[in-house]
Symmetry: C2
DNA sequence: CCGTTTTCTTGAACCTGTCAAGAAAACACT
DNA sequence: AGTGTTTTCTTGACAGGTTCAAGAAAACGG
């Protein structure tokens, strides 16, 4: 777990101003992987009860643009954020309850970055999402999100 | 391009009732690849001016559930639909103008369907989205969607 | 042709997320 | 430290895509 000082350095290193809301948002994203915006707002407010949701949205945008966090949004889901950036991992999403888990890239370092025919696009990222059922849901147990 | 009779058979084959809105929606999805919901509503109304958007949403859900069309929704985009199903192709999305193109799967038939570590999930689909710039946008020309 | 079931119409609501204006805070410089 | 400039946060309203709910209409089986 990264500490307050680390977050501060991360912000400065990315050329961003250090503010309480940003520190709290960064902490929330590191503490809760794949958290949706609403959860992040909740987590931030436990530390700083007065932050506006707008501040959280702005912070998340700034952090995403700076590459400190990554935004993921599987179809049918709201935006989620995670702190693992730059390590080319992918995600498994449960069709039933929506839970997301990380999956390291099957093929190596930057594998999928080449399409068979790139259609003339200049590709800079390959995103892989595996769809299926999480262990709990495939076992027939009640999903987290009924 | 598939004709009305084909659509009718597709619906029946999938155990769905044949209704005018569904026929029109199916036709619209086949005619316009990667069309967003709004465009589909427009296309359907050119044929059946009185359909409600709700009927289109319901039809799209039914067709998607039946596997006749596929719903795709890259992050930051609204829902889009396509008629190529079951052939394991993927998509390139332009970061600038949002245009989507099809890409045949690089590795073969059902390649990416195996994650290095599936985390206990029972995976049934691997979705790959390549992000980059389309030829027009990377050439610096004005994007379609300024 | 009739009854049952599914689907469509109508109209309203919801929920993320964004826009806009001013107040407050952070940083650079002295 | 103090000050000025720039960025960021607060407040409040708003937007667009999608869903919910109730009743009317249409499709299908017999």
């Amino acid at each position: 777990m990264a500490a307050a000082l680390d977050f501060q350095q991360m912000l400065r290193g990315a050329g961003l101003r250090v503010t309480r809301p940003r520190m709290a948002v960064l902490g929330a994203v590191f503490a809760h992987a794949h958290a949706e915006t609403d959860s992040i707002i909740g987590a931030v407010r436990r530390e700083l009860p007065e932050v506006s949701h707008q501040a959280v949205y702005d912070s998340l945008h700034a952090l995403t643009a700076a590459g400190l966090v990554r935004r993921i949004q599987p179809a049918g889901s709201v935006a989620r954020y995670e702190s693992r950036v730059g390590d080319n991992h992918h995600h498994v999403v449960c069709r039933s309850c929506g839970v997301i888990a990380d999956v390291d890239c099957a093929v190596g370092d930057a594998p999928c970055l080449t399409a068979s025919d790139d259609r003339g696009y200049s590709i800079d990222e390959a995103e892989v999402i595996y769809w299926g059922l999480c262990p709990a849901c495939s076992a027939g147990r009640a999903p987290e999100h009924p």
